[in-house]
Symmetry: C2
Amino acid sequence: MRKLRKVSVIGLGLLGGSICLAIKRALAGVTTAGFSHRAGTRAKARRLNVADEVFDDIRAAVAQADLVILATPVCTFEGIFHEIAIALKSGCIVTDVGSTKLMPLRWAEKHLPKSVYYVGSHPIAGSEQRGVEFCRDDLFDKALCILTTTKTTHRQSVQTLKGFWRALGCFVKIMPPAEHDHILANVSHLPHITAAALVNASNTEELKFAGKGFMDSSRIASGPPNIWADVLLTNAKNISKGIDRLIKELAKLKKAIRSGDRKKIERLLESARTKRSELVNYKMKRKELM
Amino acid sequence: MRKLRKVSVIGLGLLGGSICLAIKRALAGVTTAGFSHRAGTRAKARRLNVADEVFDDIRAAVAQADLVILATPVCTFEGIFHEIAIALKSGCIVTDVGSTKLMPLRWAEKHLPKSVYYVGSHPIAGSEQRGVEFCRDDLFDKALCILTTTKTTHRQSVQTLKGFWRALGCFVKIMPPAEHDHILANVSHLPHITAAALVNASNTEELKFAGKGFMDSSRIASGPPNIWADVLLTNAKNISKGIDRLIKELAKLKKAIRSGDRKKIERLLESARTKRSELVNYKMKRKELM
């Protein structure tokens, strides 16, 4: 595993800011450089002392970095790869924390020079909140971080990046980007769409009677629309299949309810209950962030 | 408002047990009588000192009660009304805490004697946990309780029951049972079905990658299937319409995603985000249990 001396973080939102703070906590001696294109964010990041240096020039921010981490919305990655390519130190590791991984890989292959090493990262952490003011140095504690690699990914860089995320508190799992996008479509992107659809299907006056169940099941619908639009657009096929599967399950329940088929209703609810309780047990055992 | 001296609670699960404890805390001088048909539950209720008296005979449990509260699954109400009818004191108020209100009213009209007064109640409180061991004396603090009435409901009993739930910590709202069932189908029963469908649409191995978003949005799928089957079966028409509306919203999002229509995706997500944040503000202002 290579020693990192300087890490540059592009984008100082909840994730980017929290990466900087977690480095400060866990990796003594590593310098952090942060970039944001917003003056307001840069001012807040300086006030909160998030990074050692805060830049308004993206190429200056990545100069001499051993590791560059993109923490901006997914659809900005292509432009950023293109823009920073010329400023990257030879041997630098480039990663991103986007929620989809196949498109970022394609953009990296297209725009980054052969002298740097791209590996995808997806730390499954965060919340519906956004902005540097919510960042925390423990955001990644016990979070799962998926690294995405292909046959041609530089092995040593994968090991270095694995060590980096582990130092920040993550469990690390490695898989191909296509597998990542398929899985996340089902366990993350589909729930987001479902929450949004559930809110949109309800009427404002009726929502006043919502209890804790509705509030919890719709929480993620409060996430930032522009960031989520990027995720959905870069994983359209998998998500679209997921929606079809969900609609099929809803139709099954509807049929059982309409026909008064108690046995069928109980079987469907019991199957969900059992599956979820197994999942809760699995997460508890691993002491993963719930 | 009439003075209550004895309240009988039929069913000592999370709700029934919590009602007894809340009475003990808030209504000094009121005697509580609890009934459960399970020996194990009765033993636990006695050990936890949930009610002043715990009965295995339902008619003995309701004798001399000024208020009888059914806190068993909705589909047991008809049988219970029929069974207790003969044992109720004249002038007694009978209510239930079922999540649907039209069917219970019909059963009450069919089986209860003219000498007692039926009013429906629905305290929107609880959790995915079940059993007397989870009961709490503060379960109803700042919860909304909907009372359902019709033109023929005994006004004085409504006032008494309103005072009762308020004493237990609830905000009280009064509406016709059909309106209740329509609203709750959308804000409570539909989210439950959605959570179950979401879990059923996912594969066990993939679920291991679920983050906090999935866990929150699926929490209610851990609720007890038999209790929920009763709710769904007694509100089938409204729920079925809700499922149709949800499927329509999902299809809208799918179409926008498949066609790469960023503007449309952002508009749909933004509408959900805004609606939910208005809802959060409303609940915050009222200091309602979130």
